[in-house]
Symmetry: C2
Subunit: 558 residues, 2 copies
């Protein structure tokens, strides 16, 4: 990434080649910005990992002047505390100015809460941006443009750069009938398009889905109908940052004479924050009741909102389903409304929770036949409309796997955009006055967040965990006298290797004895360890087709 | 499960409450049958497990006289070798007669191959059944009825029992235009319905999907179009037992002047078997070429079929995508056709493989916009048709999670079936002349197959593996002299715990020293172990929020 006065350069650190950990470096003149700093949720073979973050190691060569956030979802702001942790660790004794972070009101409120939890608020300088106002950040001019998304106060960005205007959509959709967050500012996109846009970057999440997405208002109507028909209590699960959906649920509850209890910390915190900031209206001052009052409220007059739509172990919905929640049990006649998407990979977890409701006599309403949920990401024809309005000279698809990025680039080509370019994590796109080039790809190794230490795992550590999970562990203790003779029978402990079928575990002690007998000559600790390890490995491979991790402890009585 | 001369009893051991490991016990008179004996593929937190099997422990109380197989998919036949392993282990010195296994030609051929791999062929007596012929199995009369499914020679079962006729569909669908396996024998279902059916059991897999499924012939047309338009080589991935699909692909290849190479052992074996038995027709004797000839064949005259549609590590498709296959690399201009379903949970794996093709310049055709794949399971309106034809007095939905079973039972009710009953794994449905009852649910603990030992893991072992994967492992060695003093600094090894950030790993030795110093009075091995374990656990919980598995080895110099 050059710092050349007349060039613009862009390098994604995450989000291009996968879904999540969105993070894009953008450099022009003497200024380098980071756009978004999100986490990705670990895949199932990233054991014990809390979050995956973009590869910050490239900031050593390309330090940033500011972070700009498009909206408050975790895949756009969640890695900010780990970015600051990285900066602290790589300060090299230098004092560091607080990092300027630009965002809208709701976005800054969410990132402030997150940074406060990590005691990192004094390392940042939060700077408010409002749609329609332009701010200068070094050699960039930045304007936020209101967009509709499944969280309030989301914005796209229009950036003035040495090579012309760049439009970055963030996550967005059109919604002809939005519920609480406003409509996408199409007029502004049109005006920018008329004046000329050099580069457009847009969200490819739903590029495979045709047509236009269902409106949030249509979901509100379906929810109202469902509340109306439910004979007793209604339980709704949803994403806790979906304030528009919460608004629809509060309105539907009020309209059907029900009060609302909320289970789950994120849901409670996000609702309180949104209410405080004016993004959530209470249809009645007494609508919300404390969870303690759930059992004293008449079933036909109650709605319970519960976090945990992905079936997460320990979430409110999970605990209610499994009979482990102190404030609520499933009752015969309950109606569970699943007002959310199942994130791929979570199907079995979701099924476990939903089936538990069902088995205890609840009715379950799932999206599919009814519009109980809609997306926050533009479908293909919404993208077509935007491309037609912005009319960029160059198009770069954002957010997604390669297949979707490719499909989005193809769509732009068919719509007459002169050039499209697919940029992967670690590649640099350099845009000059009359050309653009992609430079060689740098390796990006995502960061792994592990418990309170934050960034504390790497691919080697994950390899060790996968190996333990697949094979189990064997600990062997051998005690020798001064002459190298066995003082006592070797001790063998196995953890997660196999059940003792056909004596496969109990006979391992004999394998160790055989291994010891095979060591000729001087019985050094290393030679004994090696012999035991080799024999045990061979033994378990033959009988089990697995390679347990083996730790051999040899002690010699002096 | 009673053995009462006038009752019929049914107990599912698997497949009712989850997808997979289909297995149903059925008892009448002095005879007890097992219908199907399938595996389930492990979920991502069942580490290192090859397959999950039904809970065979109930066979101790309810021994079986025969196994009846409806078709040759793994979720219906795959647990047969482990059933035989279980029977061997629980023989209690008794000599055992070979187990009779009933199935159609193709089904028996597949189960024979599987049992041969496990050297278990002499423990069974394979008995051929043909649609339309009735056989007596003890007190049951059994008739197979041809059904259409995504594998040849699939059948439903009509069983004569003391309480009347029972129809068990197995897996089935209607296909107005089948390709190689025949049509579902609707006339036979109608005739049975006319004569009176006491109980119908039917497949609920696709009950949430409306309408009728796309015909296999429509898929064949889409594949032909795709072959026609592909500028160079075509690579197709699919399920290896889908012989009808293989037929369509061979026909399309021949029609577009292409030869076919097959990569992957299952694909090669299944095709050879199907060809031998007349289920697969070769449109031309020279159509198939050896994989070694892939690189000598002109790209526009080649189709490669590759196993590994779920992105499985080490599969043919995976190795081609990653450049690890000895016989083939991806070339610019290749067309990859994904003629399969993504099984939920495999999305990331599939994306990794498909994106790798894309990045190397291949075009990728995915189902969705085109009919490149269709299902083998009846959609909702196909189920409605069947219910209308069979007109059972009692209906019991098969195969699926509770939500789908419930939906299927509701459909039967709406269509006028007098009674529906949802039976879960471990429950017994007893059908008498004028009533039916469900008895208390027995606990079913699935079996876990682990490497060459077969059934060699239980839930406790899986818990240990999950714990290791989430937390990692610490091995500590402490060597004391006769007075209980430390002979040398304690030795600490960590595996997969965390990177040594802020000295969290390197300082663990000091924690062990502190723990030792805290042991007052007699320093027994147990007290030392306990103290070290407690202190280390506290230390890692505080700094890491994780609880590594800790193994403490204490040796005393006498």
């Amino acid at each position: 990434m050059s710092k050349n006065d007349t060039d613009l350069s862009l390098m994604p650190l995450g989000g291009l080649g996968e879904f999540g950990m969105n993070c894009l470096l953008m450099g022009a003149g003497q200024t380098r910005l980071m756009i978004d700093c999100g986490v990705m949720f670990p895949s199932d073979d990233e054991h014990g990992i809390d979050f995956v973050t973009p590869d910050f190691s490239h900031l050593e060569r390309f330090p940033i002047d500011a972070l700009v956030l498009t909206h408050g979802h975790e895949d756009h702001i969640g890695a900010t505390p780990y970015l600051l942790q990285w900066l602290r660790r790589h300060r090299n004794g230098r004092r560091r100015q607080p990092l300027p972070i630009y965002g809208t009101r709701f976005t800054l409120a969410l990132v402030r809460r997150r940074l406060d939890e990590h005691n990192a608020l004094d390392e940042v300088d939060l700077r408010l941006i409002r749609p329609g106002q332009e701010v200068a950040i070094g050699d960039f001019g930045l304007e936020a443009i209101a967009v509709n998304h499944s969280i309030p106060d989301a914005v796209a960005l229009a950036l003035k750069t040495p090579v012309g205007t760049v439009v970055h959509t963030g996550d967005w959709r059109l919604d002809p009938r939005p519920v609480s967050s406003g409509q996408t500012d199409l007029a502004r996109f049109c005006a920018l398009g008329e004046r000329g846009v050099r580069l457009l970057l847009s969200d490819s999440t739903n590029i495979e889905v045709g047509g236009l997405a269902v409106s949030e208002a249509e979901v509100a109507e379906a929810l109202l109908d469902a509340f109306d028909l439910a004979p007793a209590r209604v339980v709704v699960t949803l994403f806790s940052s979906n304030i528009g959906r919460i608004q629809s649920l509060l309105d539907a509850a009020h309209a059907t004479g029900r009060q609302v209890a909320m289970l789950g910390r994120s849901l409670q915190q996000n609702s309180a924050l949104a209410r405080e900031m004016g993004f959530l209206r209470m249809p009645h001052p007494d609508l919300i009741i404390a969870p303690e009052r759930i059992n004293q409220t008449s079933p036909a007059e109650l709605v319970v909102l519960a976090g945990g739509s992905q079936g997460e172990h320990g979430s409110s919905l999970y605990r209610v389903a499994m009979g482990e929640h102190s404030q609520m049990r499933v009752m015969h006649g309950d109606t569970l409304i699943y007002s959310s998407r199942q994130i791929p990979g979570n199907e079995r977890r979701v099924t476990r929770v939903v089936d538990a409701f069902h088995r205890q006599g609840a009715e379950v309403l799932f999206p599919g036949t009814r519009a109980l949920h809609t997306t926050g990401h533009a479908h293909r024809e919404e993208q077509s409309l935007l491309l037609g309005m912005v009319k960029p000279k160059l198009f770069m698809p954002l957010h997604g796997d390669y297949r979707r990025l490719h499909m989005h680039a193809e769509l732009a080509k068919r719509l007459g955009v002169p050039r499209s370019v697919i940029v992967n994590d670690g590649e640099t796109l350099t845009v000059r006055e009359h050309e653009h080039v992609i430079s060689e790809r740098l390796v990006t190794n995502p960061g792994y967040v592990l418990g309170r230490l934050g960034l504390a795992a790497d691919t080697e550590l994950l390899r060790q965990r996968r190996h333990l999970a697949f094979n189990g562990m064997v600990v062997v203790n051998v005690v020798l006298d001064a002459d190298g003779g066995l003082v006592q029978a070797p001790w063998v402990e196995t953890i997660g290797v196999a059940m003792d079928v056909d004596g496969v575990i109990s006979q391992a002690t004999r394998v160790v004895e055989t291994a010891l007998a095979q060591v000729d000559g001087p019985r050094s600790r290393d030679r004994i360890e090696e012999s035991v390890r080799v024999e045990l490995r061979r033994y378990f491979r033959r009988h089990l087709d697995r390679k347990p991790q083996i730790s051999v402890v040899v002690n010699t009585l002096a």
